[in-house]
């Protein structure tokens, strides 16, 4: 008898023992004389349930998790029904049911390298439609969708593509920024490991829109599984003729530098140089990789494109809030009970997500702070939990949404230490071009130490230093490090030993 099961191969699932479960399933199936077909998919993004095993019954995928190898024999005994780890239909789990999955529509469902399954689940419809349109029409569709960059800055994607379309150049390039260095983020990784053709399709559409003959995916060395999956998917796409002489994609791998996620440092790195930030102008759209007009987009920006083309701009912009249109893959991590990836329309509040959907902290203690947007993002206290998750909304609350990672901390966190870490991170990762960033961050660490030691003069010095970093930095590494530092100080003065009076 044959038995088909689905089990993720996503790095987070592996990190929690998915391969050990696979091994136990094979052993058990063999012992029982069953012919096991084990399909390794991406993850659904419900990381607290990993390893999450699925079986299809009457058209529904039923889940079991989080599994340990010792659970496996009883699973077979129960004929994959009544088991203590049974979760029922996976798509009816509230965390999943409440999502709107556009970019992640197939992630966790299909085998990542199965092109037929990709097509059967709606893949390639966007590219097929794009092939019937002129470049100008594609750009207009992206502009109309309201799509903005998911890498952090929220720049309108249609305008960027239009600039490259109109730029003079014998050759043009599309660069996917998959450097994903922000703590608390893993959407890029999860998409590549779970549905790499979605990225390839998005890049192919972009190439057609701007007239590029070459695409590059800049990956990070911290993601070995994603790199292997991308390479494999590129081979499949080449064999299928999706990639070829007309448009091909190469992968490039970074080497542990955070600042290489900044688009001009990234281009330097791809060219084989030190990852140093370039002054703008020229914009990458005019003079990017090897001097060619280049689109640099975040991976999620590009992976959002196929659904916009297949469903239409109107459909996409029917989701969202204000000027933040469409969906965003929110990533909730750190000390959180139900952590993972939650793709939803912009506009849910921080509190609704963190406490409503994600159940508060893993430790069971009260949530004290949520850092949003990575190491350059602000710490939000509970009093700001009614802030809707959107570009302008987070900005108005004194922070930024960035690549949409939310890191949850319980009440044992010491915000003075977190502020100091923000400065330390900036010092470690600075590319060295600007003095306020390179030297200021080191001074910042020292000054925070002085505040924590009770020096009454130090808070004013720190405020000054932050102002200098904001004003005198070429990129957001130096320029935005004041966000986590000052938000920690502003919202949690008690963690700085009574620094409040002096700071105000």
């Amino acid at each position: 008898m044959s038995l088909t099961l689905y089990l993720p191969l996503d790095a987070a699932a592996l990190a929690l023992g998915a391969d050990e479960i696979a091994e136990a399933l094979r052993t058990e199936a063999e012992a029982r004389g069953l012919d096991l077909v084990l399909k390794r998919t991406g993850t659904r993004g419900m990381v607290w349930l990993e390893p999450l095993l699925e079986i299809e019954e009457n058209g529904l995928r039923m889940g079991f998790g989080p599994l340990e190898p010792a659970d496996v024999p009883a699973l077979f005994d129960s004929a994959f029904e009544d088991h203590p780890k049974a979760l029922g239909p996976v798509e009816q789990i509230p965390f999943f049911a409440r999502q709107t999955r556009l970019a992640f529509a197939r992630c966790g469902i299909v085998e990542p390298l199965d092109l037929d399954a990709y097509r059967a689940q709606g893949g390639m419809k966007g590219l097929e439609r794009a092939m019937t349109m002129t470049p100008e029409e594609i750009v207009a569709e992206i502009t109309a969708s309201g799509l903005r960059g998911r890498g952090g800055a929220g720049f309108p994607t249609g305008i960027k593509w239009k600039t490259v379309l109109e730029a003079e150049g014998a050759r043009k390039a599309v660069v996917c920024n998959a450097d994903e260095g922000d703590s608390g983020t893993f959407a890029d990784r999860m998409l590549i490991e779970g549905d790499p053709f979605c990225l390839i399709e998005g890049m192919a559409i972009c190439a057609r829109a701007v007239g590029a003959d070459r695409g590059y995916v800049y990956m990070r060395s911290e993601y070995p599984q994603a790199i292997a999956m991308l390479d494999a998917s590129l081979r499949v796409a080449r064999e299928a003729g999706i990639l070829g002489d007309h448009f091909d994609i190469e992968d490039r791998v970074g080497a542990g530098s955070y600042v290489c996620g900044e688009e001009t440092a990234l281009l330097n790195s791809m060219e084989g140089k030190r990852g140093i930030v370039r002054p703008k102008p020229p914009l990458p759209a005019h003079k990017g990789f090897m001097g060619r007009p280049t689109v640099v987009n975040n991976l999620i920006t590009l992976a959002s494109v196929p659904a916009i083309l297949s469903e239409g701009a109107e459909h996409y912009r029917s989701f969202g809030l204000g000027r933040s249109l469409g969906t965003v893959p929110l990533q909730i991590a750190g000390n959180v009970r139900y952590g993972g990836l939650f793709e939803a329309a912009f506009g849910m509040t921080i509190g609704e997500l963190v406490e409503g959907v994600c159940g508060g902290t893993a430790s069971g203690r009260p949530v004290k702070a949520v850092q949003i947007g990575g190491p350059l993002g602000a710490y939000f206290p509970r009093s700001l939990f009614d802030t809707p998750l959107g570009y302008e909304e987070c900005d108005a609350a004194g922070g930024l949404i960035g690549h949409a990672g939310l890191v949850v901390f319980d009440d044992t966190v010491e915000m003075g230490a977190m502020a100091r870490f923000a400065m330390e991170f900036c010092a470690v990762e600075s590319c060295g071009t600007c003095t306020p960033c390179r030297i200021g961050a080191v001074r910042g660490m020292e000054t925070i130490d002085r505040i924590l030691a009770g020096d009454p003069a130090a808070p004013a010095i720190l405020a000054d230093l932050c102002e200098t970093m904001r004003a005198g930095s070429l990129c957001a590494l130096g320029g935005f490090t004041p966000y986590p530092v000052e938000s920690a100080l502003r919202h949690f003065p008690e963690d700085f030993g009574g620094a409040r009076e002096a700071a105000e």
Partner: protein, 154 residues
Amino acid sequence: MTTDIIARCRGIAAAHAHLDGPLLPVLHAVQESFGHVPVAAYPALAEELGLSAAEIHGVVSFYPDFRTEPGGRRVLRVCRAEACQAMGAAALGEDLKARLGVEWHGTTEDGAVTLEPAYCLGLCACAPAALVDDRPLGRVTADRLERLAREGSA
């Protein structure tokens, strides 16, 4: 340093020379082959790629991943970033340094393990996280990490 290694580095460089911007792919391939980027190979790499040895040095020294001396038989990358800190990564890091008797970037005396800091491994929803070579690990303890890092590398 044998001439053989230099010749092989030259071969790696030649195999990538057709790329636009070949240097990082070359350095990764060299490090993959030898566990580090031998300084003695800079002139050969430079010649194949039309660069100067000083430029190669500049690039190698910029990127944290590249090492010019051999590391341990296993590399243990432990995340120090915020989401992992929310789950105790700071104490984990201190504990590991003490157990292995090294600072960050250090290699144990017996050459078994190199301890490297990482700033996010994309495993933030199962923090604290680490990589032992390429193997991802979530919700780790110092005990388990030390054991896995030493396993088969003693």
